[in-house]
Amino acid sequence: MAEAVLPRPWLGRLLRAREGGFPYIAASVLALVLVCALLGPWISPHDAGRIALSEAMTPPAWLEGGSMSHVLGTDNLGRDILSRIIAGARVSANVALYAIVLSGFIGAVLGMAAGYFGGVVDALISRLIDVQMSVPSIPLAMLFAAVLPPGEAMVIFIIVLSYWTWYARLVRGEVLSLRERDFVKLAKVAGVGTPTVFYRHLAPNVLNMLLVLATLQFGSVIVFEAGLSFLGLGIQPPNVSWGGMLADGRNFIEVAWWLITMPGLAIMAACLASNLLGDWLRDTLDPVRRQL
């Protein structure tokens, strides 16, 4: 019996396949996005920006008239869609990672402070959250798009501005209940300082939730970025983004469906994968469930 309760090495736990086990497919999809983002220029079959009007609107390889040199076909300017999706992955992954790390950090710090200190600190931060949440993000994005130089930095800024509240609210609520847990009180009784209470008792107990929310939001942020770029508020040509590809392709939906379908599938796959991985993380990182 004593043997059975000994924790297994975390690596084994992470790789173990079982019911509700590791979502290999979802993880592979996200890994593929990351590989494309890192190695894009070296693995893409063509230059994403190369225009070849003579090859415009070549259908995907498996359709009549398609060619193996353009596996997913070409767009209205003859640019290779697979290469553009690979190039777009870099933008999506970049924006999503920066935006999530920044909004997660800002949200977590403010949320912990609000939940732990309460009183005036809590009132100020909570009102800030309320105000931020009551502002719809698309008009906000339009405002900043008019004021700030467009580009990835602006997109990240807008996403952080509209996403930190999620983390702050979640963390605040959790810390509000953690604060009343006996182990936090007993840490104080033992003479543990406030910074240590934060990083040893509060942060690890909200970290899992943060990680789950971050993974789930990876997909949502990609969709948001695509939406901004679709509206022309985000990534500007000649930089490639999945949302921008949708915007470019929608005029040709009746003659060349693959222009809009291929980046759409990429967005959907990335979003779905991040949701599946998030679900799995939520189940796995809970130490109470882990023993089952």
């Binding site: 847990r181 033992a190 003479g191 040893r200 109470v288």
Partner: protein
């Protein structure tokens, strides 16, 4: 008898939307070094809030607390930290009192490190305290969820003892445990007290437990102490009607035993609007006019004190 802890007119008030909640309102008591002092009373009478005052988790709203001659409320910085090392606590729920994300080793080392113990000493001390509470040394490498409730409470006790405190506040230390392991934990606590010369402030609602372990008993009602004295005195010769009712409510394993007299009806009053005069008068079977008007003062006979108008000399 040397006094270790004394409270003079200690109060803890909370400002709420409904007014000022007087959770603890003018409590005076002394705890002698080496004794087990029990605080009993029904839910919501302020026992646990009183503990938070002693543990400096809530600020005093009035009065003073003195520990080993020092004014606890005035302690700042280094002195406050030293006080923290001398007064520790064990709480009721061993599932809430251990951080689920930390290994037992970290949980036990934390108080030591907070007080600047050299890292080299920590491992040895953790091992020693584990054996003190009857756990194997390899427990240090496990997480709390890998233990049963009784074992977790042993870990909680180990954490309270690792700083070698003088006073341990035991807030319902066994009431969340299975009946079958209560005796084990209780015996452990008593053995540790003898071995380490600890002083216990025991907060409990289980009168049988109190009768078993306490040296002196204080009975609390609605934020105030109504009776305090030697355990045998209080249990055998309760003076306050509330104490009498409390003791009368203990079920006796004898179906033919006569029912206790002086039963109390109704609910404990709200600490937002405590009754005038004696706080117990709306429920007291002996309530008189004086009880409604003036708060009773303490009447002392030997080492036994109670606050009731019935006891006042006429």
């Amino acid at each position: 008898m040397t006094v270790l802890l004394s409270l003079e007119d200690a109060a803890c008030h909370f400002r709420t939307r409904g007014g000022t909640l007087k959770a603890v309102d003018g409590v005076t008591l002394t705890v002698a070094r080496g004794e087990t002092f029990a605080l009993v009373g029904e839910s919501g009478c302020g026992k646990s809030t009183l503990a938070t005052l002693i543990l400096k988790l809530n600020p005093l709203s009035g009065g003073r607390i003195t520990f080993a001659g020092e004014d606890v409320g005035g302690l700042r910085g280094r002195a406050a930290k030293r006080y923290r090392s001398r007064v520790q606590a064990v709480f009721q729920d061993p599932y809430s009192s251990l951080n689920p994300r930390l290994k037992v080793r970290t949980i036990l080392a934390e108080p030591l490190l907070a007080h600047g113990a050299p890292r080299g000493e920590v491992t040895a001390k953790v091992r020693r305290v584990l054996s003190l509470v009857g756990l194997a040394p390899n427990a240090a490498g496990l997480y709390p969820h890998e233990f049963s409730g009784g074992q977790r409470q042993r870990i909680a006790i180990a954490r309270a003892l690792i700083l070698e405190p003088d006073l341990v506040v035991l807030d319902e230390p066994i009431s969340a445990l299975d009946v079958s392991i209560r005796a084990q934990i209780l015996n452990l606590l008593q053995d540790l007290q003898t071995e380490l010369g600890l002083t216990y402030l025991l907060i409990a609602h289980d009168l049988a437990l109190v009768e078993h372990v306490a040296d002196r008993v204080a009975v609390m009602y609605l934020g105030q102490i109504v009776e305090v004295g030697d355990k045998v005195e209080v249990f055998d010769n309760p003076r306050h009607p509330y104490t009498q009712a409390l003791l009368g409510a203990v079920p006796r394993p004898d179906p033919r035993a006569p029912r206790a007299s002086g039963q109390v009806h109704g609910e404990i009053a709200s600490p937002l609007e405590p009754p005038s005069g004696c706080r117990f008068h709306p429920r007291c079977p002996h309530a008189m006019d004086a009880c409604r008007r003036t708060p009773p003062s303490f009447v002392k006979t030997g080492e036994h004190t109670a606050s009731c108008h019935l006891l006042a000399p006429r």
